[in-house]
C-alpha cells in the first residue's frame, strides 16, 4: 500500500498535468501520469549525478519546470490547441476499469515479498545510492566493488525506488521492489490502452473486443515475464513501454496525441535499461520516418529539370530542413536516455557486456544464440501466419481504420532482436550460462510485441466480420490526421495527407 501511495502521490500527481495535456480524455492518462512522473524522477537523478544535490530537490525542480512548461504551452497554444473531443468518457472509464481489473490479478503476487537477484544487486543498490545524494551516488557508482551491479544502467527504476525511500525512509527495503512492479503494471496499462484505442471508434462490439484484447495483452505481459514481472526486475518495464511506444507511434493513426504518448513511452524505455535505450532508438527512427519522412527534393529537381542556382538553393534548404526535422524527431525524445549514457561515460562507467571479447568463436555463439532466442519465440510462427492472413484479406480494413502498416511493427521487432542477438554474439561472457540466465528476459519485448500484433489483428478482424461494420460515427478526435497509410511504408512522403490535420498540429507542419 505504501508503494501505491508513492506511485499515486509521488509520481502520478506530478505527472498528471502533462499526462492530461498529452492524452486528454484517453484512458491512457491513468497509466501515463506515473510513467511521466518516473521519467521526471529519472531526469532528476541525472541532475543529481551531473550537477549535485539530492533526488528530492532535483525531482522537484524537474517536476515544477515540466508542469510550468505544460501550463505555459496550454496558455500560449490558445486557438491552436486541439479540442478535448475524443473517446466518449464512459468508454474511457470502462477501459480503465477493465485494464485495472486485469492488472490487479498479477499484482496480487506482491503479497509474497519476492527479492530477485538483480532487483537487489542492481536496482535496490542503485536506489540507495540515488537516495544518498550526489556524493554518495558518484562515489558508489565509480567504486569497483559495485561494478558487478552494472552501474551504467539508466536511473528510472532506482529513482522511483529512491523516491519511495524519500517518503518512508529505509525501514522497508522491499518498497523499492514494489515500486518497480507497480511501474511494470503502468507500462502494461499503456500498452493495453493503446490496443483498446485501435477499436475505440468502431461499433460497441469492436470497442468491447479491443478493450478485452488490451486487457489480455496486459495479462500476457505478466505471463511472459513470469517471476521477473513481480520480483523487482526491470525487463518487463522497458519491454512494455517500448511495445507501447510502437503501438502508439507506429500502429495507431498519426496524431499529435499518439506521437507524444509514443515519445514519452520511448523515453521511459531508454531510461530503464540499456536494451531499452537501443530499442527506443530504433522505435524513434521508425516513428520519425513515419511522421517526417526525409525527402530528397533537391535530387528529384536535378533529375527533372536543372533550374537556376536560386532554385537549387531553395530545394537544398528544403532537403536540409526535412532531414533536420527527421533527426530532431529522433534525438529530442531520446535526449534523457542519451544524457544518462553520456554522463555514465563521462564518469568512467563501462558496459561490462561490451567491454571485452569472448574466446568462443562467433559461429558457435551465433548458433547457440539463435537456438536460445528461438526457444522463447513460440508465438512468432502464429503471429507471422496471422500477419499473412491479415495482409491478404484485411489490408483494406486496416487502411480504412488509418492504422500504420504492419511492416513498421515488424521492423521494430527485427531491429530489437538483431541488437540483442549481436550483443550475445560479440559479448564477453560465456554464452551458454549467459543465455541461460538472461534470454528469458531479453526476449520479453519480442514476445510482448507479437502478442500485441495478434491483438491488433484480432480487433481488425472482429470489426471486419461484424454486421454493419461500416456504419460508424464520424471521427471524433481532432488529433487524427492520417488515413490510408497501411498500404505502403511511408518512407518517401507518398500519400501525404497531413493537410487534413488541424491548424497547429505538429504533424500538419
Amino acid at each position: 500500500m505504501r508503494a501505491l501511495f508513492v506511485l499515486i502521490l509521488g509520481l502520478g500527481v506530478p505527472g498528471l498535468l502533462p499526462a492530461l495535456a498529452v492524452a486528454r480524455r484517453s484512458a491512457a492518462v491513468i497509466f501515463l501520469a506515473p510513467i511521466i512522473g518516473a521519467c521526471m524522477a529519472a531526469v532528476g537523478a541525472e541532475l543529481e549525478l551531473g550537477i549535485g544535490g539530492s533526488l528530492l530537490a532535483c525531482y522537484l525542480v524537474v517536476a515544477v519546470a515540466v508542469n510550468i512548461g505544460v501550463v505555459a504551452w496550454w496558455l500560449a497554444a490558445g486557438r491552436f490547441r486541439q479540442s478535448w473531443a475524443g473517446l466518449p468518457l464512459d468508454w474511457s472509464i470502462a477501459t480503465v476499469v477493465v485494464m485495472l481489473d486485469a492488472l490487479v490479478i498479477p499484482l496480487t503476487a506482491l503479497r509474497a515479498p519476492l527479492f530477485g537477484r538483480d532487483a537487489e544487486q542492481i536496482w535496490l543498490t542503485h536506489a540507495m545510492m540515488i537516495y544518498g545524494g550526489h556524493h554518495q551516488m558518484l562515489t558508489s557508482l565509480t567504486n569497483p566493488a559495485y561494478w558487478s551491479g552494472n552501474p551504467d544502467y539508466p536511473p528510472l527504476v532506482p529513482a522511483a525506488g529512491a523516491l519511495a525511500f524519500g517518503f518512508f525512509g529505509l525501514g522497508n527495503l522491499h518498497i523499492a521492489i514494489d515500486m518497480t512492479v507497480l511501474l511494470n503494471a503502468c507500462a502494461l496499462g499503456m500498452l493495453g490502452t493503446g490496443i483498446a484505442t485501435v477499436g475505440s471508434a468502431g461499433r460497441p462490439l469492436t470497442r468491447m473486443c479491443a478493450i478485452v484484447a488490451g486487457a489480455a495483452v496486459c495479462l500476457a505481459g505478466f505471463a511472459v515475464a513470469g517471476i521477473f514481472g513481480v520480483n523487482g526486475y526491470a525487463d518487463l518495464l522497458w519491454a512494455a513501454v517500448a511495445a507501447a511506444a510502437i503501438v502508439w507511434g507506429l500502429v495507431l493513426p498519426r496524431s499529435t496525441q499518439a506521437l507524444s504518448i509514443a515519445w514519452i513511452c520511448a523515453a521511459a524505455a531508454s531510461l530503464t535499461k540499456n536494451e531499452g535505450l537501443t530499442t527506443a532508438f530504433i522505435v524513434l527512427v521508425l516513428i520519425a520516418f513515419r511522421y517526417r519522412p526525409p525527402k530528397l527534393p533537391w535530387l528529384q529537381r536535378l533529375r527533372a529539370q536543372p533550374g537556376s542556382r536560386r532554385d537549387a538553393e531553395v530545394t537544398l534548404r528544403q532537403t536540409v530542413r526535412s532531414w533536420a526535422e527527421c533527426a530532431a524527431f529522433i534525438v529530442v525524445p531520446a535526449l534523457p536516455g542519451l544524457a544518462w549514457a553520456g554522463l555514465a561515460r563521462h564518469i568512467g562507467l563501462k558496459n561490462r557486456f561490451l567491454s571485452s571479447s569472448s574466446t568462443e568463436t562467433m559461429t558457435l555463439r551465433a548458433d547457440v544464440t539463435i537456438h536460445g532466442i528461438a526457444g522463447h519465440l513460440a508465438v512468432a510462427p502464429v503471429a507471422a501466419a496471422v500477419l499473412v492472413a491479415g495482409c491478404l484479406f484485411l489490408r483494406r480494413d486496416r487502411q480504412r481504420a488509418g492504422l500504420g502498416n504492419p511492416a513498421w511493427l515488424w521492423l521494430a521487432w527485427l531491429g530489437s532482436l538483431a541488437i540483442i542477438f549481436a550483443t550475445y554474439v560479440i559479448g564477453p561472457l560465456e554464452i551458454y550460462s549467459w543465455l541461460a540466465n538472461s534470454v528469458n528476459r531479453t526476449t520479453i519485448f519480442a514476445q510482448l510485441l507479437l502478442y500485441a500484433e495478434l491483438a491488433i489483428w484480432l480487433v481488425i478482424a472482429v470489426d471486419a466480420i461484424s454486421p454493419n461494420s461500416r456504419s460508424e460515427q464520424p471521427r471524433a478526435s481532432a488529433g487524427v490526421a492520417e488515413t490510408g497509410e497501411a498500404g505502403q511504408p511511408h518512407l518517401a512522403g507518398q500519400h501525404d495527407q497531413r493537410s487534413a490535420a488541424p491548424e497547429g498540429d505538429i504533424i500538419s507542419r
Binding site: P113, Q121, P144, R396, G402, L403, A461, A464, A476, V480
Partner: protein, 142 residues
Amino acid sequence: VDVMHARVPGRAAQDGTSVEAGKPGLAKRIACVVVIAAAAVMLGLTVNHGLLAAAADQTPAAIKAAKITDRVEECTYRTIRQELPKGAIVYVADYWHGDNVRLTDLETLWTVPEVNPAKAQWTLSVGRGQLCTRRAIKVQHR
C-alpha cells in the same frame, strides 16, 4: 484517438477506394474467423499459463518462503549497521560471488566497500550459523 472514422456508409474512403456495401465475402469471413481464433487461442493460452504460474507462486508455502528471504535481507541490513561504524572501509571477501554480493549491496549508504583488502579496516564475510536465520555475518577488525 478515433481510428475507424472512414467507416461511413456510401462515403468514399480517403484512400480513393469506394466503401463496399453488404457483407464480406466468404473467403474474407473465413480469414477473419481464422485470425480471430488464432489470436484468441494464443492470447488465451498465455494468459491461462500466466494465471496458473501466478497461483503457484502464491501458495501459503511460497509466501512463507518469500517472507523468510525478505526477513533475511532486512536482518542482514540491520546487522551491518549494528556491527560496523558508519563510514568504515570494508572489504567483502569474494565480493562478486554468492551471498557476499548481497553484503556489498546492503552495506550501501553505511560503509565504503573496498576491493583491496590491504586498504580496508574491516572484513565482512558470510559464514554458517543461525544469525538472520539463514545467513551469518562474520565481522573482523583488521
